[in-house]
Symmetry: C2
Subunit: 339 residues, 2 copies
Amino acid sequence: MEVKWEGIRSISGTSWKMRTIDWEDGAVTLIDQTGLPKEERVLKCSTVDELVDAIRNLRVRGAPALCAAGAFGVALAAKNGEDIENAAEILKKTRPTAINLSYGIDRVLEKASNGKTTEEIREFTLEEAKRIAEEDIEVNKKIGEHGAKLLEDGDVVLTHCNAGRMACIDWGTALGVIRTAIEQGKEIKVVACETRPLNQGSRITTWELLRDNIPVMLIVDSAAGYLMKKGMVDKVIVGADRITRNAVINKIGTYSLSILAKEHGIPFYVAAPLSTFDLEKEEKDVEIEERVPNELIYIGREQIAPLDVDVYNPAFDATPIELVTAIITEKGISESQSL
Amino acid sequence: MEVKWEGIRSISGTSWKMRTIDWEDGAVTLIDQTGLPKEERVLKCSTVDELVDAIRNLRVRGAPALCAAGAFGVALAAKNGEDIENAAEILKKTRPTAINLSYGIDRVLEKASNGKTTEEIREFTLEEAKRIAEEDIEVNKKIGEHGAKLLEDGDVVLTHCNAGRMACIDWGTALGVIRTAIEQGKEIKVVACETRPLNQGSRITTWELLRDNIPVMLIVDSAAGYLMKKGMVDKVIVGADRITRNAVINKIGTYSLSILAKEHGIPFYVAAPLSTFDLEKEEKDVEIEERVPNELIYIGREQIAPLDVDVYNPAFDATPIELVTAIITEKGISESQSL
């Protein structure tokens, strides 16, 4: 099914009360992240098909936000009188790498199993999805409190992709740590890697930080090593899509950053909720999503490579746990060696 | 002066006899690299102003090609009856980092000093510029012969930016080594990093390799480390814009690649003509060109970052000599430690 999207409203000028993804008037509403920073539009998904399209095309993305997206998706199926088990299967298949998507879906399914009537199932699924969204904010605030202890006044923190408010319901994981540190009165500057090929760093991270008046400087991904060598980076904080026993799976480029940080003696932190952990698995058990060649051949309407070139486009990579200085969760900071 | 460019002809379907930059009918002709891979057009520069614009806007780029561009520029000034010393100054200021530009200009100026009449100066400058172009091809072929010894049948070679035919007059430095190895019957595959922000890898390297039927796979810059970890890269070969006593100055991202190669035990080679060497200088003496923020805010007409974001956009970085396994020149292969 091809979905024709029309924004239901613009978020320009609105306060941050708008969440990344939410439930409103019997539908899922979300900030369409593919339009940023140029077009600030809110979309409404009234069917699971529409939400599936939104997830596949990264209109909503980021591991914690996908947790809520999956949860709201099941609630939407229940509301529309669809088979929720079937909807759950379809939703889980949209993106293979982030564990949080399945986690959110499974939590809602479990609550649904207590429902004896269609009405109860509708009610329980929506309640649980809303609870997941609320918890995400609380969890991020706690991650922020724990992580902020690691940041000193004057730090320049390099981040990759977007592990901010726009990857969650609100506040953010990696950027949440920075927000909390700033709230505590510390002066923190952010270096944002643009994060090819979909430019979540240049499109989303810079946009959300500028809206909060947090100083941010944009660089190309390949400049990170040079900045570290010049002493322009004090710490690295990234998010995670899945944390296995031996590796952190996150946006492509994270692994390179971890090597560069080690080489320059710079702490390398991962900020993620416990729902990102999948400690029964190892790196080799996780499917790394490979996305289409066109992400490297076009940017919007601009063709930047030959149409017939071979492309290898893994969306994520795996950073060995031993390269991670510490993982910041809602329960505290764990040295990665102690997992 | 704003130059309105119109292609004088397309190079589609033409053989490779067209050089990257050449002298034709009293003007400098060049393949407009800003149009690749989509628009294959040849431009004609009849004035130094036009050539200056072409160099500044990277219509012609690559250290060895800039050597010839500077040389032809002085010849063009002489042909048009302009002050060649003044033209030389203007040309030298177009790009600060590659030493080859000054080298080409100075060689032609020296020959000009032997001219007693305007006619002789015209003749000597053009002769010398043409000689520089011819020498570049011979030099590249020799770099290819020496460098090919380092490549084995079946190697996958990762390269950054474009150090190919399109960075020179013909054949190429890093890609010249690969071309020679393939000519010798070795099977070589290339991994091309897209090379943000101007995408010389995705736009130019892939385009020129596909035209020669050399297998090439395009990746985002930040994926290089992940490919190395997966054992998908046997060697790295890059070009250079300037080689000082203690560092190789090359396209931003080269330094990160050198660290990643070391971490994974992968040889890291630099292929460059002796005209790239500036051994009286150290890294700290070289101006690293910083280019405009718009290179990260737009790709063509597509806006990919907030208009008011701070951007740090160094075009080059510096790789310490000790991270370079060997430098391949027209005189042979030198272990970097012996410089």
